[in-house]
């Protein structure tokens, strides 16, 4: 924990977990989609569903989806901003099961090109979040470090190819998860780095033949 985790962050109230954390979940979903959404469907689980409205959780998630930071005073009017931007937002209460944190949301976004992506993430206190699912892949990462999501075809050498580019960029890998749906099918690398991966390296990774998409995730 850093000093500015204790005295800080600057945020819109009323709740670190139900407002700031929720906003960061919206920002995460937007980063995973990789473009501005035109539709958003938000499933609120547990305490998020029960006490969310009073804490502005729904507004905060929409604010994040629109790209607002947790300290953005416009967060309060996020619904109006969504309407002005032509983003259709729907909500429902969901039950994600007993093993999921009580402050969890599933956010599914649709881009203008029809692309759909979804995340499931929890707000675990103090504005900190934990992502538990990205596009159906079970994952576990918080947003404390710059994170690169590399969607690719599962094949020998894929990890080495990406790691070589990161090594050339002198980007130190702090943590890494790799997983796939089925052998030889779609796979996902979640790579947390100590510093931001430079744009040229992200482009190079995207250019690898086995890579289908690269999504940098950096949430304030």
């Amino acid at each position: 924990m850093r000093a500015f985790d204790v005295v800080g962050p600057v945020m819109v109230g009323p709740s670190s977990s139900h407002t700031a954390g929720a906003c960061r979940i919206g920002l995460l979903a937007r980063a995973v989609l990789g473009t501005s959404p035109v539709r958003a469907h938000v499933g609120l689980h547990g305490s998020f569903a029960a006490t969310g409205r009073g804490h502005g959780t729904d507004r905060a998630i929409v604010a994040g989806i629109l790209g607002m930071a947790p300290s953005d005073p416009r967060l309060r009017e996020a619904f109006a901003w969504a309407e002005a931007a032509g983003v259709v937002v729907t909500f429902e209460t969901v039950d994600l099961g007993p093993h999921v944190h009580p402050n969890t949301a599933r956010v599914t976004l649709t881009g203008a090109d029809g692309r759909v992506s979804g995340v499931v993430a929890s707000s675990v206190g103090g504005g900190r979040t934990e992502t538990v699912e990205v596009d159906g892949f079970p994952v576990r990462f918080d947003l404390s470090r710059p994170t690169l999501l590399v969607f690719h075809r599962d094949q020998p050498g894929a990890v080495a190819d990406v790691a070589r580019i990161l090594a050339d960029a002198r980007a130190n890998i702090a943590a890494m998860q790799v997983g796939r749906q089925v052998r030889g099918g779609e796979a996902l690398m979640v790579i947390e780095t100590d510093g931001r991966v430079p744009p040229w390296a992200r482009t190079a990774i995207e250019g690898l033949p086995e890579v289908t998409a690269v999504r940098p995730v950096e949430v304030p």
């Binding site: 000093a3 204790v6 005295v7 800080g8 962050p9 945020m11 109230g13 009323p14 670190s16 103090g126």
Partner: protein
Amino acid sequence: MSTPSLAALADAATRASRRIGQIVLEEEARETSETPEILVARMADMLDVMRESVAEGLSGTARSTSGLVGGDAQRVEACRRAGCGIDPAGVFAGAVARALAVSEVNAAMGRIVAAPTAGAAGVLPGVLLALEAEGHVPTDRIVEALFTAAGVGKVIAARASLSGAEGGCQAETGSAAAMAAAAAVEALGGSPQAAAQAVAFTLQNMMGLVCDPIGGLVEVPCLGRNAAAAGQALVAAELALAGAVHPIPVDEIIDAMGQVGKALPVSLRETGWGGIAVTPTARSIAERLGLWTEPPKPEPVDP
């Protein structure tokens, strides 16, 4: 990695003939590779946001989305200016007014500094900005005292908890008050040991405070508890500056607060299932707002 210790932090400051705030700043600079100057400037920015929150709250325009709270900070401030109330020109009333102001802004979805949480955001600015204004402490000492507060908060987070959901209000406004008490002691020239004593007294005096928010909102009793916690910080700082020494080491008291937090039933830890949140009137308020959730039936207890 060993568990952080507030006694060790105070000892390190004493041995180095520095204040806890200075040690925390130096440690932060080492661990983040940022210069102390940059970190001080960033903390000064935090103080500026705290000032803005206070100003917004005192203006009386902050109304919570539920309509339940708003306007009391302005009332207290008006009372002070009119010379009514207790010690209108002093730090105490200044802290109460400012703590309420920030909490009202928080409840109205305005901008605040979470210190350490949004729910307790009024406590630290309440105490420190009152010390600056009514206590005439120079601003640079206030900024340094925010590092004292951060250092105390880090230890409490590691040993116990800062959150109402985990440890009740004694963990949330209690931790904020402990941070503010230590910060106040150092800002007023007290020793690192006295700052640690202020933490001990604060947590002891707030032990067992429950979290029972009406409708689950961060409004009632949260606003009043922010003001109360500011008061508790001043009491503890007063004792510590006078040289009072608690017979129990501060780290043991922090641990005890953590244990008490775990012992609190879930109904009294930010669920709105106990305390004033389940009074008949609170229930009807919550129902009117569409925020009532029925508390689960209690487990039968063995005779």
